[in-house]
């Protein structure tokens, strides 16, 4: 599952004027900053008085992209689902799993049977009781064969280990696994695994996409396509996660979730007071936003945005050439230059820095070193040069084609790739960039086995459980489609599987870190940058927080307005 970034215009490749536009916008935004700092400086927020947070008000939220359906595997759908549905369990910032719809659970000694006690008296907002049977139906749907019910996030984690989900008592759910899988609870905590009303699900995909029904703090009232989703408060809400700041219904009356694809409009609407909170602060306004608003940021776990090197044929079948490519460009400088500090560099290609198993030392691997790159390439037999300075082996030039799409890369990132292209040339690489529009990219253009040496992708997850998705080798003729490096290492896979079955936290982390070191050392993937979720909130709005399940969805359940003098 991935965050698809940027506006549709970028996706279509309509961008001839944008560079100019960006500059103009930057200048004007800067001017507007100067004008407004003085106005804003006078207004300091004041907490609500002793009677608890103030009730009422509609949160005007400026979001970015509009998905085609209000639930699904794309994070744009997770953001929305977090508002109207509840999960079985929740994941705290420190990675600990805490009760949500399940008040408690036990795990059998062989780690294959989970028994969950479901919170009593919870109802979906269509009146259907939320009991063990309802949860079981959801889970069986995610992992079943009906394409309309299948869950594209849960399935790749659980399809190998899942056996069944059954209600053994009205409020007792049993999940049985074929093999132990410790990250199960992490998977259940992700918003795409929010529990939906089984009665509502029977209405079919078309109706559910438009008006899904959960048991969450907000109810989807209306989706005005192309404009907004209107949420209203669930007045009977009684199933908040245990780590929320309060229990019972939300403080605000609802959310006006507006789709504002253009960043000037989105951030501008916060400046003019037309929005109370906006998503994805533009790089040009990053400093301004931090000086003026409350800024929330979540760096997503799982993989970083990384370069996957195609290891199944030359030149990157040779680990020395892969490492040489890593040394050949100053990726850190390229990223810092391009994102203006709005996104940090990430050198650890295996795991993003917010994952609990992250080894920070690997965040400094493969620093810029052309000498080392040249040495490795010489050793690998790329010793000849053509007249352009590109290395040759057996008469073949050292060509690296990088496939990428605006669907996975913010537009600023393209500059970083151009820097890498230039720098790698000094070591004798001929780097060709293959920008691909979203539709073509999803259709597989520039992604075939002979189409690329490098592809830029990522996959958001809580942490190292992502290794299963990335590094599961092909089995019985079944290709692992999520392994674009085509790097298959049975030893690595064994470590990953052992880690998944290890319920001692220290032991599991050690195993995952062993895998992590191995991945970085073999350089089948090279780190680039991270994915983040940022929110800027007006001083009028307090206690908005970001979910730490994995994606960082905005949570408006605890949010409340304060009077600003």
């Amino acid at each position: 599952m991935s965050v698809i970034e940027r506006t549709s215009l970028w996706r279509l490749g309509i961008q001839p004027n944008t560079r100019r536009k960006q500059k103009a916008t930057a200048v004007l935004l800067a001017v507007s900053t100067l004008l407004q700092i003085s106005i804003m400086a006078c207004c300091s927020a004041q907490e609500a008085s002793a009677g608890g947070p103030k009730r009422g008000g509609i949160i005007r939220y400026g979001h970015f992209q509009e998905p085609p359906c209000l639930f699904g595997g794309w994070v744009q759908q997770w953001y929305l689902q977090r508002q109207y549905s509840d999960n079985l369990v929740a994941r705290r910032e420190d990675g600990k799993i805490v009760p949500w719809l399940a008040t408690s659970w036990t795990i059998s000694d062989d780690r294959k049977v989970y028994i969950f006690e479901i919170k009593p008296n919870v109802k979906f907002t269509d009146g259907t009781p939320l009991d063990a049977q309802a949860v079981a139906e959801n889970i069986n749907g995610w992992l079943g064969n009906d394409p309309d019910r299948r869950n594209p996030t849960a399935a790749p984690y659980l399809e190998d280990s899942f056996e069944s989900a059954t209600a053994i008592a009205p409020l007792t759910l049993q999940i049985t696994l074929k093999t132990p899988f410790q990250p199960l609870l992490n998977v259940l905590a992700q918003s795409s695994q929010g529990i939906l009303s089984p009665t509502a699900l029977k209405r079919g995909l078309a109706v559910n996409c438009n008006s899904p029904v959960g048991s969450g703090p907000f109810i989807v009232e209306k989706w005005n396509h192309g404009q907004n989703v209107v949420f209203r408060r669930n007045p009977d809400y009684n199933s908040a996660p245990s780590h929320a700041k309060h229990q019972g219904p939300a403080y605000v009356d609802g959310i006006n979730w507006r789709f504002l694809a253009d960043q000037t409009v989105r951030y501008g609407s916060l400046l003019t007071g037309e929005s109370d909170v906006v998503y994805d602060i533009p790089a040009v306004a990053w400093k301004d936003a931090n000086s003026r608003f409350a800024v929330l940021r979540h760096i997503t776990g799982g993989t970083p945005l990384r370069l996957a090197l195609y290891t199944a044929r030359p030149p990157f079948d040779d680990v020395r050439v892969r490492q040489a490519f890593a040394y050949a460009a100053d990726r850190r400088a390229a990223v810092e230059l391009s994102f203006l500090g709005a996104l940090p560099f990430e050198a650890n290609g295996a795991l993003s820095q917010s994952s609990p198993e992250y080894i920070s030392g690997l965040g400094r691997s493969y620093g810029y070193d052309v000498g080392k790159a040249n040495q490795l390439l010489d050793q690998a037999g790329w010793t000849e040069h053509n007249k352009d300075g590109i290395r040759l082996k057996n008469g073949k030039p050292l060509v690296v084609r990088i496939s990428y799409s605006s669907a996975f890369l913010k537009p600023d990132g393209e500059q970083a790739l151009q820097v890498i292209q230039q720098q790698a040339k000094a070591a004798g690489f001929e780097v060709r960039l293959q920008p691909t529009n979203q539709a073509d990219f999803f259709a597989g253009k520039n992604l075939g086995p002979d189409d690329y040496e490098v592809v830029l992708l990522y996959w958001v997850a809580p942490g190292a459980e992502i290794f299963r998705i990335s590094w599961k080798p092909d089995r019985n003729g079944q290709r692992n489609r999520y392994n674009p490096s085509r790097y298959q290492d049975e030893a690595l896979w064994n470590v990953v599987q052992t880690a998944e079955q290890e319920f001692n936290d220290g032991g599991r982390t050690a195993l995952y870190q062993q895998a992590e070191r191995n991945i970085v050392e073999k350089a089948a993937v090279l780190g680039f940058t991270v994915l983040d979720v940022t929110l800027a909130t007006s001083p009028r709005l307090k206690d908005v927080w970001l979910d730490r399940g994995s994606v960082g969805e905005p949570v408006f359940y605890d949010a409340h307005f304060v009077d600003v003098k």
């Binding site: 309509i14 794309w74 594209p152 253009d262 501008g268």
Partner: protein, 320 residues
Amino acid sequence: MRVNSAAHVRIGRLAGRFVSAATVVWLAATFTFLVQCLMPGDRAQIIINMASGNVGEASPAELAAVNAKYGFDQPLVLQYGKYIWGILHGDLGLSYQQHRPVLDIIAEQIGPTIILAVAALIAAWVIAVLTTVLVAGQDNMWSTLLSGIQVFLATVPPYWLATILLVVFAVQLRIVPVIGGNSPIGLVLPTSALALELSGFLGQIVRSEFTRVLEQPFVISARARGMGELGVRFRHVLRHAALPGITLSGWAIGKLLSGAILIEAVFARQGLGGVLVAATSSRDVPVVSGAILISAGLFAVTNMLVDLTYRIVDPRIKMT
């Protein structure tokens, strides 16, 4: 008898017009449908990848399920036949992504787009006519300046202009809201962004014709009758000078509909633009084809209206 046959001829010609318009629409639908189906890349693969938010070759079983569900496993001729048959019955199919009827999707979005396009056309005409009538044909600084501004407006990218208008008038001066929604005040900036460019085109055309007509004998005779300068310009000259502009308006509607797509994105306005862009980037064939079909239909209807308008403005023109 003569009257009757003349009427027949007229009806026949109207029918001819209608048939040619229908042909245009049919060709547009066919072209879009076929181009999208024949583009490299598997539609089932896109649907699966869009649903999971990731790329990667899906398993044969997964692909087969999706192919069967959407009928992609049928021969293309059959898919096309079904599509056209559906159109004839007012059914544009189901969206691959939204799982809703395409007609519903377009119906809820087309209103704001038409309002924007028409408002922009009217605004462009008002700007073009006022500036031309007041300034054209006068060999002075204002006339030169106007011409320069018109050329600038006609060539500046509306997307860029829109952003500048937005930052200046909404973020800075706060005269209009940043998020106008569907309110009349929210129409001001998008309309201006679209209309200013078009007014440049229209103004240039109307102005050159206007200058030519100003020197015609009937203008001199009107002046000789003692008519005031403004009266001459509005009552006599404009009527002649407007004809090429009206021709251009038919084309302009097409341009405005496509321009609206970009402008809607900038101003976060509801409309066909957002739908079309999203559908194109997910290759949602029924939605793209439907949107093209409806736009082509609008374009054809507008051009028929333009033809009729000619005769009102200049009764000498017979429909031939």
